[in-house]
């Protein structure tokens, strides 16, 4: 792994002290022919907001269910809070889950749903009442007390499910796409609330999602999963700025991919030849073997457009604008330079629209520090 580039450091969460909530070692789980989890090893810190991000079927939910005790590994070892979880039944683990379908008990009203876990532990009713009221206050569902799940909206069900889990004061809270069924606006609002709740409770949150924005907004660290494996584990900023594979680059945010070949490597810089022109790239994690095929990645908002002046310089591509899409906060351009199509996006920082028009020829600058070199 490379050292983070200096510009990223301010985004990196402060180092977490203390032990690990989860230490997974080579966890494997097969369902018939399908390998849901393939030798997954990961360590999750105490008090961390940790996301498992990936497309459906990547194994993220299987890993989550294993931590909750609802699924057992075929092989590998799971240490939960310093204890081997192999013989630790689900109902005794200090772990609670917010289920994707919420799984609220339809025959119980909101208070009884929230109190369920404490009742199972046979706590005195006075303490149950105090804790349930406290949590319902915090999640703002007090006025829903007497309602039944069938009478709640999606957002309300989500809050009740959260309250029902949190009231047990778990050491680890598992969240299985808890915002998946909600509309965008509510989702954005609840993302922030969840993030604040995690900071307030200080417990480990493990969050499963296929929504990259959600993971980027809330997480301390994200494990990107694909086909039963963790393909990259990093902070949100590192994942976005320094993806290590094409899959990660494409899964997190929009990106342009330019195929090329290394022609020169000297003094911390690599020179890449592509159909769009020559590019200078900072020497990164991959071996700079001359003539090896590589892929250059750049985020659309990092490309700088200017009126066509000089050409033929490295990192500068003459291009024609094929399409312009105005979307309020930003304007997206589709361009083509040297038969290579790419996208670029400019923030509309003033009301005056001084962008470019379709058919216009421009010069696109790809800053070396924003170019990521991948060898797949």
């Amino acid at each position: 792994m490379t050292a983070p580039t200096p510009t990223l450091e301010k985004y990196v969460a402060p180092p977490l002290s203390g032990g690990f909530s989860i230490e997974a070692d080579q966890l494997t789980r097969r369902f018939g022919e399908v390998t849901a989890l393939d030798r997954v090893s990961v360590r999750i810190h105490e008090g961390e907001f940790f996301s498992l991000l990936g497309p459906s079927g990547c194994g993220k939910t299987t890993l989550l269910r294993m931590i909750g005790g609802l699924e057992m590994p075929d092989s590998g070892r799971l240490i939960l809070l310093g204890r081997d979880a192999a013989d630790w039944p689900a109902h005794q683990r200090p772990v609670n889950t917010v289920f994707q379908s919420y799984a609220l008990f339809p025959h119980l009203n909101v208070v009884d749903n929230v109190a369920f876990g404490l009742r199972m532990k046979r706590l005195p009713e006075s303490e149950i009442h105090r804790r349930v009221q406290g949590v319902m206050e915090m999640t703002r569902i007090r006025e829903l007390e007497r309602r039944f799940p069938a009478e709640l909206s999606g957002g309300q069900k989500q809050r009740v499910a959260l309250a029902r889990a949190v009231v047990n004061e778990p050491k680890v809270l598992l969240l299985d796409e808890p915002l998946g069924a909600l509309d965008l606006k509510l989702r954005k609002q609840l993302q922030i609330e969840l993030h604040q709740l995690q900071r307030r409770l200080g417990i480990t949150f493990i969050y499963v999602t296929h929504d990259q924005d959600e993971a980027l907004v809330m997480s301390d660290r994200i494990a990107v999963m694909n086909e039963g494996r963790i393909v990259q584990l990093d902070t949100p900023a590192q994942l976005y700025e320094r993806p290590r594979t094409r899959f990660v680059a494409e899964f997190l945010g929009a990106c342009n991919l330019i195929e090329g070949e290394i022609v020169e490597a000297a003094s911390g810089q690599i020179k890449v030849r592509s159909a769009a022109g020559m590019f200078m790239v900072a020497m990164g994690s991959i071996a700079p073997d001359i003539r090896s095929k590589v892929t250059l990645v750049i985020r659309p908002e990092r490309i700088v457009l200017s009126a066509l002046t000089q050409s033929g310089q490295p990192n500068r591509v003459s291009a024609e604008i094929n399409d312009v899409i105005y979307s309020g906060a930003e304007t997206r351009y589709s361009l083509c330079g040297g038969a290579v199509p790419f996208h670029c996006c400019l923030i509309n920082s003033s009301a005056v629209r001084d962008g470019f028009a379709v058919g216009e020829s421009v010069s696109a600058y790809f800053p070396p520090e924003s170019l990521i070199l991948l060898n797949d």
């Binding site: 889950t97 994707q100 379908s101 799984a103 008990f105 369920f116 199972m120 532990k121």
Partner: protein, 264 residues
């Protein structure tokens, strides 16, 4: 969806079909209020025959037997059928699909075949076990036999429709296996269990064939009593008794429907 009104012809056909279904029942109900002692002539309205039932010790004892039989058999078959449904949905074991298939066969076996089979079995066993001498106990056993498949199928449908995440949530929230069953699974199954019990009760209430074959002295039920009375000619008090049985069946059916609507 557009609301389509049926054509006049279709309405007429439907009305005919319903007439076909309900005319016999209507005749029985109407004639139970006929003042005439014999025959089809209408002799004026009376509720005398309903009152007469109360003075008929045979009818009262038959009613008592019928309710006792239906009550006991429903209780036993509901317990067994529910356990069967739970085991079938929650556990995986060899021959699981065979058991499901075997569950359906008794429903299709003609009553008369089942009745003869039970009679044969009981008379084979009774020399050794006095319990199997024909009477109310053998009738309860016989009714349980044909009720179990119905109960199991109704309860199983309910169980299959439950979100498995609910039971996982119970475990996740710290419920042991027993607590999970008591506080989550059983309450969620309950509408299905009640519907199944109602169905079983109704089936027992108006069963004639199986009861007739497995009954003994002193265990006459209402359907058997009516059958033997009819041989001496149809009298209005039989019509009154039949009307009461129809009423009980309707009540049972309606409550099954209401319970099933309640749990969607």
């Amino acid at each position: 969806m557009a609301v389509n009104r049926p054509s006049l012809r279709l309405s007429l056909w439907s009305a005919l079909a319903y007439l076909f279904l309900y005319a016999p029942i209507a005749v029985v109900v109407i004639y139970s209020f006929n003042a005439a002692r014999f025959g089809a002539a209408w002799n004026g309205f009376t509720t005398h025959w309903y009152a007469a039932i109360w003075d008929n010790p045979q009818a009262l004892s038959a009613a008592r037997n019928t309710l006792l039989l239906a009550g006991c058999s429903t209780l036993i078959s509901t317990l067994l059928g529910t356990a069967l449904a739970y085991g079938w949905t929650r556990f995986h074991f060899p021959g699981r699909r065979w058991i499901s298939g075997l569950l359906h066969i008794p429903i299709f076996i003609p009553d008369i075949v089942l009745a003869v089979a039970l009679l044969l079995l009981y008379s084979l066993v009774s020399p050794w076990l006095r319990f199997f001498e024909l009477g109310l106990p053998t009738m309860v056993l016989a009714h349980v036999t044909f009720q179990i498949p119905f109960v199991a199928i109704v309860v199983r449908a309910r169980l299959a429709g439950l979100d498995p995440a609910l039971e996982e949530a119970a475990r996740d929230l710290g419920a042991s296996g027993r607590q999970k069953f008591r506080h989550v699974t059983l309450p969620l199954m309950m509408p299905g269990i009640l519907a199944a019990a109602m169905l079983a009760f109704t089936l027992s209430l108006d069963d004639f064939v199986v009861s007739f074959f497995t009954s003994g002295p002193g265990s006459t039920t209402l359907p058997i009593l009516i059958y033997s009375s009819v041989k001496r000619g149809i009298t209005p008090d039989i019509n009154a008794l039949s009307t009461l049985i129809i009423l009980a069946s309707i009540l049972g059916t309606v409550s099954v429907m209401l319970l099933q609507r309640k749990n969607r």
